[in-house]
Amino acid sequence: MRAEPKRDTAIPNTITIDGQEIPFSIGQTIMDAALAAGVYIPHLCHRPGLTPHGSCKLCTVSIEGRNVASHTADRRIQASSSVEIDSRSVSACTMPAMAGQQIRNNTPALNEVRKTITQMLFIEGNHLCPSCEKTGDCTLQAVAYHLGMLDGHFPQLSPRREVDASHGSVVLDRDRCILCELCVRASREVDGKNVFAISGRGIDAHLIVNSASGKLADSDLETGDMAAHICPVGAILIKEHGYEVPIGRRTFDLHRVSEIGLEPVILAKVRHTDE
């Protein structure tokens, strides 16, 4: 066995989520531990096996009694830390599990926050589900159902985003991209390529293709790549297979997103040569 950090065996390696004690091993995040124990924490930019990302913020949980005025505090948080000292918001997918953490997850307040964040994702892009091939198989949609989202709440931002249909078998419709970077990571970490990247800044951030022309056709993306299949929404689609499974018989017509184990754990981890 590799050297384990010395620890007091009296302190068990467990965290508590909504009152349920959950074991974890060193190196696991809160999300890892929760999923392993069958506890669902809503997530969009996370996929077991890929490097945690922490961008969608759907997995936001509260840790109680965490000492905020520690080294972790950035300058701007300091000012507000005194009032919020009794609970701190963290991303479950990136926060390492630490013995004794008291975590709140499935609470009405947190689910409300998550619903608002989901609404932000809907209105910042163009999500017209009735016309989307991914409907029924879409994790964004399924999470929205899970959270009881009825509408986008905010005004639509209706951005104009570019569609890239240049590739023989894969289409990229940026209207539905939620910038989760799953494709970016899958391409680098699993496929051993580097097909995608995020470019731009702020609300103008967008997915680009890492090829001289910026087109998918000129990239080395292949249909067999993980990156061609991992998109949680209908932004990267395999051409001509969209309606093989009829609406009504699709993943989230038959399952709920909160059922653990729907997403394959990515086992083959090939590191990109650049890293």
Partner: protein
């Protein structure tokens, strides 16, 4: 007449503006630095943009993915993929040094005089005019950057002369020299600004004392980070020193992007030796051979001078190999210049930028002290922090902690700007009251003070007795005074636009939320807000604050929540007297159709 539907393409590189590949290659080859930001800057400067084919050239030159180069070009405000004018003019839009500072819209005036639309290059390619976030000239009135050089104290007269010089294509060398003179404006000095520390004295003292004891002194002095977070500098150095790694790095954060902050500009301009000396002390303590100073692009004009100071220090044996004759005490400092991105002041985004990437904050843990630049243990400190460290190395911890308060030892350098007779640099012992500062800068009829910049706290008269310090009102140094005449809602609009513009776009709450906040404040300022909108903004603000990934998002709503809470009448008096107002202007939404159909009848309008 037949029109082809315009190609619906957001792809930026549809046209390549006659730049030959040889031109591109020669710019790349001549550039002395291999830092991506520097190469891109050289291209931008010489070709006035970064043509698409240059992206691939740079990528192959540096052996980087094309996507990385392209994404960097599109991230930083100072890089463009369509040409800017040969005179590239950027007016600050800060509430203190912005184009509205004198009450007149100088941006509009300049555009008019030059016949340009803001943000677009004039057809003859001579000039482009645009706005940019605070350029750190807040003590000098309205300011602009012309081809990277600041011009201060703008008023209509100066704008008219500038327009004439541009139209006559007079090279910058022929413009009045004094326009470019940016002086320090030090109004009161304390521990750090009082006397110049003689270059090398701090290092001599450290060597005499030993690295361990010096670290002890830094820790015992109670010095806390001056960038704002206020983390113990001694502890940070200690963590970094203890972290395993084949290299350790010292990084000086000179990004100074918080609107209303300009004290690092003065330290870099007139006290650069102290800053470099502090970095060198740190290097010795943590065992680092390489330092980096990340200079904001707006301060590029300071670069030659800073390079000169570094060169002198090398000559004096204060930098380089075997510093002060100590075998194995090797340390070099490199300067990396940013390109217009406030987020790059956040330490982990800064490190990403140093590594030639978009400035996106990392996940923490791990922290820079263990996994920083190139994944190695790294200390990131503010300019002022390093300056203080140099002084402490020389004079000891007691000298420092004798000033200030219990939790906030030492002094704080404030950048005072806005509605006061004597804007400038004021160094105070921590614990000074707001009232005292206001008296010293001769501010009359003060309505409010923005402490710590837009990300800080907005306070009104009732709170002027409060004290600056980590116990009460922390500040990175920005101190903006708003007189009775100021429209605080206009200020809120300004700040909301700032955050939406500067959000890096990584996390959902800030990426989408700052834009929604901006739209919401605009709606209220436009007279179309209702109580419902105010409630919405409060709810949204709370979410952005609590759920965002980094300090930018976590503070982006502060200013607005402060106005709503402390100055409710400012909002109230602008609200529409209805329960609900549309989110967009209905009549304006018909304008395009009116133009296409040439209709203007009553039915072609909406109330």
């Amino acid at each position: 007449m037949k029109h082809k539907p315009a190609v619906n393409s957001s792809h930026a590189y549809s046209i390549d503006h006659e730049c030959s590949i040889d031109q591109i290659r020669s710019v790349i080859a001549q550039n002395r630095s291999d830092h991506l930001l520097h190469i891109l800057h050289a291209l931008q400067q010489q070709l006035l943009h970064i043509p698409h084919r240059a992206v691939a050239e740079v990528a192959s030159h540096l052996n980087l993915p094309v996507g990385q180069v392209e994404s960097v070009v599109e991230f930083y405000s100072f890089f463009h993929n369509i040409p800017r004018g040969r005179y590239n003019i950027l007016l600050s839009n800060c509430t203190s040094c912005g184009y509205m500072a004198g009450g007149k819209n100088l941006l509009q005036l300049l555009c008019q005089l030059l016949g340009v639309v803001a943000g677009r290059t004039r057809a003859d390619g001579l000039v482009s005019v645009d706005q940019t976030s605070c350029v750190g000239m807040c003590d000098h009135g309205a300011a602009m950057l012309v081809n990277d050089r600041p011009i201060i104290r703008l008023d209509s007269g100066r704008i008219e002369r500038i327009a004439a010089l541009v139209n006559a294509a007079v090279p910058l060398e022929g413009w009045p020299e004094e326009w470019f003179d940016v002086d320090d404006n030090i109004r009161s000095s304390g521990l750090l600004l009082k006397d110049d520390l003689v270059a090398g004295d701090g290092l001599h003292a450290m060597i005499a004392r030993g690295a361990d004891a010096t670290l002890d002194e830094i820790t015992r002095s109670g010095l806390r980070g001056r960038g704002g977070a206020g983390f113990s500098t001694g502890m940070k150095w200690q963590f970094c020193r203890e972290a395993p790694g084949d290299a350790h790095y010292v990084v000086c954060n000179a990004d100074e992007g918080e609107p209303g902050t300009f004290k690092d500009r003065i330290l870099l301009h007139s006290y650069a030796d102290e800053v470099f000396e502090g970095m060198t002390v740190c290097a010795r303590v943590i065992g680092s051979g390489q330092g980096l100073l990340y200079l904001r692009g707006e301060y590029r004009y300071l670069l030659p001078q800073l390079q000169a100071v570094l060169a002198r220090r090398r000559e004096l044996g204060l930098l380089g190999r075997n510093i002060l004759g100590q075998p194995g005490f090797n340390f070099e400092i490199e300067i990396v210049v940013g390109a217009g991105a406030y987020i790059c002041g956040e330490e982990s985004a800064l490190i990403e930028s140093l590594e030639g990437k978009r400035g996106v904050p990392r996940n923490r843990p791990p922290f820079p002290v263990t996994h920083g630049y190139l994944g190695r243990p790294t200390v990131v400190n503010n300019v002022e922090t390093f300056s203080a460290a140099a002084h402490i190395a020389l004079r000891g911890s007691a000298w420092f902690s004798a000033t200030g308060t219990g939790k906030s030892a030492g002094s704080k350098i404030l950048s005072v700007s806005g509605d006061c007779a004597a804007p400038g640099i004021y160094e105070y012992p921590f614990g000074v009251t707001i009232q005292q500062v206001l008296e010293d800068c001769a501010a009359k009829d003060v309505q409010a003070v923005q402490v710590g910049g837009p990300s800080g706290t907005l306070i009104g008269k009732a709170e002027f007795g409060r004290k600056l310090g980590f116990e009460d009102l922390p500040t990175g140094g920005s101190f903006m005074v708003f007189g009775q005449e100021r429209d605080l809602l206009a200020v809120a609009v300004n700040f909301a636009h700032f955050f939406a513009h500067e959000s890096c776009g990584f996390c959902t709450p800030c990426r989408v939320g700052t834009t929604l906040l901006k739209n919401g404040v605009d709606k209220i300022a436009g007279g179309h807000g209702t109580h419902y909108d105010v409630d919405e903004l409060k709810r949204l603000g709370a979410l952005i604050k609590r759920r965002s990934h980094c300090g930018l998002g976590q503070t982006a709503a502060n200013h607005l929540l402060d106005v709503i809470q402390r100055f409710p009448q400012v909002i109230e008096q602008r609200l529409a007297h209805s329960e609900f107002e549309p989110y967009f202007n209905l009549d304006a939404a018909l304008e395009e159709a009116r133009r296409i159909t040439h209709r203007n009848d009553a039915a072609a309008h909406l109330e």
